[in-house]
């Protein structure tokens, strides 16, 4: 069984404030990813890679088709599941590292990383320790762990985001340009984290601007082709 798969997934945007113009982005996407496999989404900028990823996470709705996620011994269609079920899938099964960290005011870094672990039932101490270790591995100095990341640099925020995404060990992990603002040393850490996650059985779908990183972690590419603008 796939860890995550789409079935005839299509997505258009209708911009009501721009006279109802329709932007078709995805057409009949069929993509299946097995546990332990890493698939990289390829295609030019604007092709719809991030849109596909957001549809997989349920952040965008689908125009038609399905996104099936193996969750709790069955397949859940993220596109049609109610909000509570999507939350349960996200808590236990489906992780997403977005391009930019959305910071929560006043919440310290270490707690931001520990929260998804505690949501899955880990004790506070255990979760905080795990968070600290992962942040350290991503070379975020301990002096920053107690601070909210609002004032951090882009690269530091991205590492907080990565720690938060990798910490729980989700069965399915979506990574949108995870190394975009990282230096070489931290890129290596991310490559290693991906390899470990795969060995642990995580299905990974990633967008990698860096083709060297991509070729090292991906088992295959999935081409997202730009659609012609059809009004």
């Amino acid at each position: 069984m796939s860890a995550i798969r789409t079935e005839g997934l299509s997505k258009d945007f209708t911009l009501h404030l721009q006279g109802g113009i329709r932007i078709p982005v995805l057409r009949d996407v069929d993509l299946a990813v097995a546990p332990g496999e890493c698939v990289a989404l390829a295609g030019p900028s604007g092709a719809g890679k991030s849109t596909l990823m957001r549809c997989l996470y349920g952040n965008y709705g689908a125009g038609s088709g399905h996104v099936w996620v193996s969750h709790d011994g069955r397949e859940v269609d993220i596109t049609n599941a109610d909000a509570r079920e999507v939350r349960a899938v996200r808590r236990d099964t489906l992780g997403y590292v977005s391009q930019f960290l959305r910071v929560i005011p006043r919440v310290p870094t270490q707690q931001i990383v520990a929260e998804p672990l505690m949501a899955r039932g880990a004790g506070r101490e255990e979760a905080m320790a795990h968070a600290a270790a992962l942040l350290k591995r991503l070379n975020l100095p301990a002096t920053l762990h107690g601070l909210p990341p609002a004032t951090f640099s882009g690269g530091e925020q991205q590492r907080v985001n990565l720690a938060r995404g990798f910490a729980p060990g989700y069965p399915v992990l979506l990574l949108d340009e995870p190394t975009a603002s990282l230096d070489a040393a931290n890129r290596e850490v991310v490559v290693a984290l991906i390899a470990e996650a795969k060995r642990a059985g995580t299905a990974i779908i990633g967008i990698f601007h860096d083709t060297e990183v991509r070729d090292r972690v991906a088992d295959r590419l999935y081409e997202v082709a730009p659609l012609q603008d059809a009004a």
């Binding site: 349920g58 965008y60 709705g61 939350r87 929560i104 005011p105 006043r106």
Partner: protein
């Protein structure tokens, strides 16, 4: 898990104005639902109808399977004391102004059955701390407090009895922006810690994103869109929701 509160087919007109036009919703234990929409769209009316403070002309509100508008005043007041809380936009509507800060919190506990004075005062002290009010001010009157403190006091008074469902009507509405952020953060932490179900009316989209699991968008008495908060905000379908989202910066 079944819904805590369910509403169906709610209609309420004021003359020609449809404050509620066929509204339905449900809220489950531990779920935080934000209601957003322009001023006059019916948000306050909806909260008041759901909380039994105002009767709809049509439709039904069920709480734990019981019809809120058919249960009678005494039963409704009992619910308000035991299971529900209501945080008003203006703290003066939710506080007793001639009773001390500690009394405001303690009074709710007593209404819910607490009798031991020492315990009540200790618990009130504890709650003042939790809402970041200096316990040394336990005997001060609410009118000696700033607006933000009054609102935090109202929240302490509401949550001290650990209600299952809390209605909040623009709880940060009249406050300075800096004070709003602190209050929101406090609400976020308490709601998560206590596992409360919350229906919160707000016109602050960023606040809704931060707090709410699910979102309802109201316009002219109708729910025009609803769903997972991040999906409604990032992939809005209805023209009005697109307008609402486009008019805020990086929510």
């Amino acid at each position: 898990m079944s819904a805590l509160l369910t509403a169906e087919g709610l209609h309420l007109h004021f003359g020609k104005v449809a404050a509620l036009d066929d509204v339905a919703l449900e809220i489950h234990p531990g779920e935080v639902v934000a209601i957003v929409g322009e001023s006059g769209s019916g948000k306050t009316t909806l909260l008041r109808v759901l909380a039994g403070m105002m009767a709809p002309q049509q439709g039904q509100v069920l709480y734990a399977g019981e019809d809120v508008h058919a249960m009678g005043e005494a039963a409704r007041r009992r619910l308000m004391r035991s299971d529900w809380g209501f945080v008003h936009q203006n703290p003066r509507d939710g506080l007793r102004l001639r009773v001390s800060a500690g009394g405001n919190v303690g009074e709710r506990l007593m209404a819910a059955g607490a009798r031991h004075y020492g315990n009540i005062r200790a618990e009130a002290t504890e709650w003042l701390k939790r809402v970041e009010i200096d316990p040394a001010r336990i005997d001060d009157m609410p009118l000696q407090f700033s607006g933000g403190m009054q609102q935090r006091l109202q929240i302490a008074r509401t949550l001290v009895t650990r209600p299952k469902l809390v209605f909040m009507d623009e709880p940060t509405g009249g406050l300075d922006v800096s004070v709003q952020a602190r209050l929101l953060d406090l609400i976020r932490a308490l709601v998560a810690e206590l596992g409360l179900a919350v229906l919160i009316v707000t016109h602050d989209i960023a606040a809704a994103r931060l707090l709410a699991h699910r979102m309802l968008v109201m316009r002219r008495g109708q729910v025009v869109e609803q769903g997972l908060t991040d999906r409604v905000l990032d992939d809005p379908q209805h023209p009005y929701t697109q307008l609402l989202v486009s008019s805020v910066l990086a929510a």
